[in-house]
Symmetry: C2
Subunit: 294 residues, 2 copies
């Protein structure tokens, strides 16, 4: 366990993911000291009340000073400012990692800001719920889920191993891949589903009032599942789409083509085409159940 | 309880919904005799094995003869043939009802086939899972969900009351509405969500093989929820889209416009537009939780 332990961990941003990680660190005694940083006083109050950190601060530099591990758990749009704020105070050999849902653009932005001798290990624990904030976190959230690390070609092997070991301690299965590939995979498995869920819930929101109240009433027929996804953190998701633009637009284009083909099949009453697709999609569900990701 | 009881109930089609209803009838002693009808021998075997009916048959007319209540629980495309088969044997005063997800087109088709003195009470218990077949049913499926009845303007009030009482006994909250209105509400709450889920899972299925295996692996980020919806019965859903064409195409058109606007916002980096929508959609989730439909 000692190789796993960090003397001081700074969590920059302590919402759903950050607070869940804090709970893991606490539970397993993986950090000598946890310093939590958040901009909003209400968040810091919650962190104090929940006992998630040894120290709280509103200043990223204050949190990162002398930290062995700085884990950025904020929306992506905050990364550049955080990078600039912490760069002067990072100690040599410190590891900077993150939990962001996009890797390529972010790493390109963050890397040049960090001083030599500091190790950047970009990461993405693929786990979460539709809830936000430190109260919503829980240590078991990572259990049996995947964590994707996207190390830089010239990245430090030891730092990579330490971050990987941390997520494995949280119960995750850790894989590494290229940042661009990560962004492509997540565009279809996560970003596009969220975009579509947000859209259909928005479409329903814009309906005439009489229809709208009934949409809520009869949501159990499928719509409900979309509203859960579309209740995810708005700022976090705004940043995801702005930072993974190319891959999302590419997948969206494919989706739109497929949807148009189905629309046409419905209009022309081509039942065989519909049934063929609906039968094919069942198979992928079975694969997910077999892969124990259901 | 005696006013609720039917001497003989014929279940034409005994998959997920029909078998769940059979379990309710059994549990509460609501039927003197249950006759189950299915085309496939394997289904009838399962019904026998599970003890869901007193008698099984492959002929709809055989099941409907002397029944007080004939409940059609098949895909919509079978309705016309069933109507023609059972019409000659229905006893005066018999109630014919159904559980189909589309009402307008189906009622227009079924009504003229039935003899005078037989009461048609179209219904739609809004409940289900992604599983199919008699093994997948369970009596609690209807609990606390809505059942929509769409009585004909000249329909029999007593027959309507008896069918409503049956679904209430199953634990459902029963409402009545116009068939066309039902089809509009369900187009947005159920049919469009299913169409979109089928589409995105199809889009993922068509990806290059290397990407596809990773889609399954990392499905927890949102995609997984769509695969569950897209695992629903292919024939049932084919029939839904073919029979609720106008309402589905209308909602699909609205959805596509909204999706195109979001696509444009992503392309041009309009973060404020994205955040504004993502914030609005959270509210509808809260309404669903408050309406206890989450």
């Amino acid at each position: 366990m000692s190789a796993l332990r960090f003397e001081r961990v700074a969590l920059i941003g302590i919402g759903l993911i950050g607070s869940s990680l804090a709970r893991v660190l606490r539970r397993d005694g993986l950090a000598g000291e946890i310093v939590a940083c958040a901009r909003q006083a209400a968040t810091l109050d919650a962190v104090r009340r929940l006992g998630l950190a040894d120290r709280v601060t509103a200043e990223a530099a204050d949190a990162a000073r002398d930290a062995d591990l700085v884990m950025i758990c904020t929306p992506l749009s905050a990364y550049a400012a955080i990078g600039r704020a912490i760069a002067p105070v990072l100690k040599p050999g410190a590891i900077v990692s993150d939990v962001g849902s996009v890797k390529g653009a972010v790493v390109r932005e963050l890397k040049p800001l960090l001083p030599p001798g500091v190790h950047l290990v970009p990461g993405h624990p693929v786990a979460g719920t539709e809830h936000s904030g430190p109260e919503a976190g829980f240590a078991e959230m990572f259990h049996d889920r995947w964590c994707i690390l996207t190390p830089l070609p010239d990245g430090d092997a030891d730092a990579l191993e330490r971050v990987g070991a941390l997520w494995r301690a949280a119960g995750m299965k850790v894989v590494t891949m290229d940042a661009e590939h990560h962004d492509k995979v997540l565009a279809i498995t996560s970003h596009l589903p969220h975009l579509i869920a947000y859209t259909i819930v928005g479409t329903a929101t814009d309906l005439e009032d009489t229809l709208k109240s009934e949409v809520i009433k009869f949501s159990a027929g499928g719509f409900r599942d979309f509203t859960r996804i579309a209740a995810s953190d708005p700022v976090m998701w705004r940043d995801v789409f702005l930072n993974n633009r190319e891959a999302v637009l590419e997948m969206l284009q494919r989706f739109t083509e497929d949807l148009t083909a189905l629309q046409r099949a419905i209009r022309w009453g081509e039942g065989d085409k519909l049934q063929e697709l609906f039968t094919r999609t069942r198979a992928i569900r079975r694969s997910i159940i077999e892969a124990k990701q259901a």
